[in-house]
Symmetry: C2
Subunit: 226 residues, 2 copies
Amino acid sequence: MSSTSYPPARNNRTRNRKKPRRDEIPDIVIGRLPIYLRTLRQMTAEGKEITSSQELGQILGISSAQIRKDLSHFGEFGKQGTGYNVTYLCRQLEKILNVDHTWPVVVVGAGSLGTAIANYQGFAKRGFQIVAICDEDPGKIGKEVAPGLVVEDCARLSARIREEGVKIAVIAVPAHAAQRVADMLVEAGIRAILCYAPTTLKVPPSVRVEYIDPVIHFQHMTYYLR
Amino acid sequence: MSSTSYPPARNNRTRNRKKPRRDEIPDIVIGRLPIYLRTLRQMTAEGKEITSSQELGQILGISSAQIRKDLSHFGEFGKQGTGYNVTYLCRQLEKILNVDHTWPVVVVGAGSLGTAIANYQGFAKRGFQIVAICDEDPGKIGKEVAPGLVVEDCARLSARIREEGVKIAVIAVPAHAAQRVADMLVEAGIRAILCYAPTTLKVPPSVRVEYIDPVIHFQHMTYYLR
DNA sequence: TCCATTTCGTACATTTTATCACAATTCAAG
DNA sequence: CTTGAATTGTGATAAAATGTACGAAATGGA
Ligand SMILES: NC(=O)c1ccc[n+]([C@@H]2O[C@H](COP(=O)([O-])OP(=O)(O)OC[C@H]3O[C@@H](n4cnc5c(N)ncnc54)[C@H](O)[C@@H]3O)[C@@H](O)[C@H]2O)c1
Ligand SMILES: NC(=O)c1ccc[n+]([C@@H]2O[C@H](COP(=O)([O-])OP(=O)(O)OC[C@H]3O[C@@H](n4cnc5c(N)ncnc54)[C@H](O)[C@@H]3O)[C@@H](O)[C@H]2O)c1
């Protein structure tokens, strides 16, 4: 640990720095923070105590200035001449991203992808706990697809979302069923959806959807394969 | 089918349009094309023959002007007053993206994710055929993880990449092994990598890497959950 | 203590991306 | 044939994102 403490003491320059309102911080900046956090956690695991915007940029393939500017939207986390305390910056990013506690997550669709997700330890390890999974196939209901995780029917899942205040859901059903599932989730109070179905969903503005479609990535890359 | 043919006949305005060199088309534009293509294919499946930038934009939640401008980098594919012929635009985007034929793909890591990928029909259906899978665990080698797909050892996979000229690979191993695997793949001649391991890889500029990490998406969304 | 070196945070410049808005077409209805 | 509504492709403009460069610390060694 370095001798002086993080965060740095206030000084003339920082005293009057205006804090931007949350909603005017560009989404593209928010989108990079989880990458920074992942890298910092990796450093923590390796026992690294200090890093710099230059080192981070090197690892991530982006400029050091961008990292500094991104972070500067939220405060001053580094120390001139030294860099950033890895643990401290981790904690700060976790607070900013709202991941300084565990989030419960539900999964819809207990097919091959849903089962893989339910069994993946990486979610819980990084703060996202799969608390329930459902499927419309009666043949799957009651099956224990992962340790301690039994497939429920969709009505039950909907009720649990409400009762337990779950905000995050994963859609792992075929594309043709995805919109119907999304409607159900929104109705139940879900606010964030990670959609694996290769389709675009229509949801109210208060709900955020992100998509994972590996084929999209393949097709993006093949453009450059000549 | 509409009475007149796509593409539209050339006219004064188009005659002198300069075609931008491939390498100066913004990557962010390329990144949207697969989304357009996916939507158009969906329309094809629904029997829709004509669409418009407005309709596409509505579905995708982006502006019609952006869609028109994106497409305009590559030519003129629509007809004023009418819109776009779905089939024709599909074919054009497939050519542009270089997905007017099937690409062979190899997978490294035959764990739970690798197995799910190997079994997923959605890749082949959209032009990406998993032709081989490998694992370093001797206990997994020889197992048939999907119909017609037997786990090989990594040296054999490397040889096949070379022999068969495979250009695209998926990394589905734990993060700590990912860089080693990437080095092997690059050495074997792979040019595009889809990495599921939650880490950032170092590869030469001639190789493109894209990442899928669901936790990154969760963390992006939790920022907005207050 | 002083100096050389490192690194941050940020004002300003540049580049990139998105939007606007309109002439040119297309087509169908009357 | 004429009119009106719809839609494209694109130059001009606006907005957003990124990069540059530097003053202000912080550190460690002479
Ligand atoms: N398997 C993969 O590796 C993979 C990879 C990328 C994307 N995907 C996508 O993820 C989705 C699921 O893929 P999969 O391979 O698990 O498919 P799958 O057919 O194995 O499983 C889908 C499951 O969803 C259930 N389901 C269907 N409609 C439902 C509804 N309305 N409510 C609740 N459950 C419903 C089905 O009963 C089935 O169990 C698909 O959209 C697929 O394109 C899968
Ligand atoms: N399972 C999921 O749903 C999921 C979701 C997102 C991301 N991931 C990520 O995908 C990766 C794989 O996850 P998983 O659940 O399949 O893990 P897993 O442990 O089930 O499988 C990993 C496999 O990789 C093999 N392996 C390890 N080192 C190797 C090497 N050098 N060469 C070849 N094979 C090697 C192991 O023998 C094992 O079979 C991990 O990085 C994980 O974080 C998994």
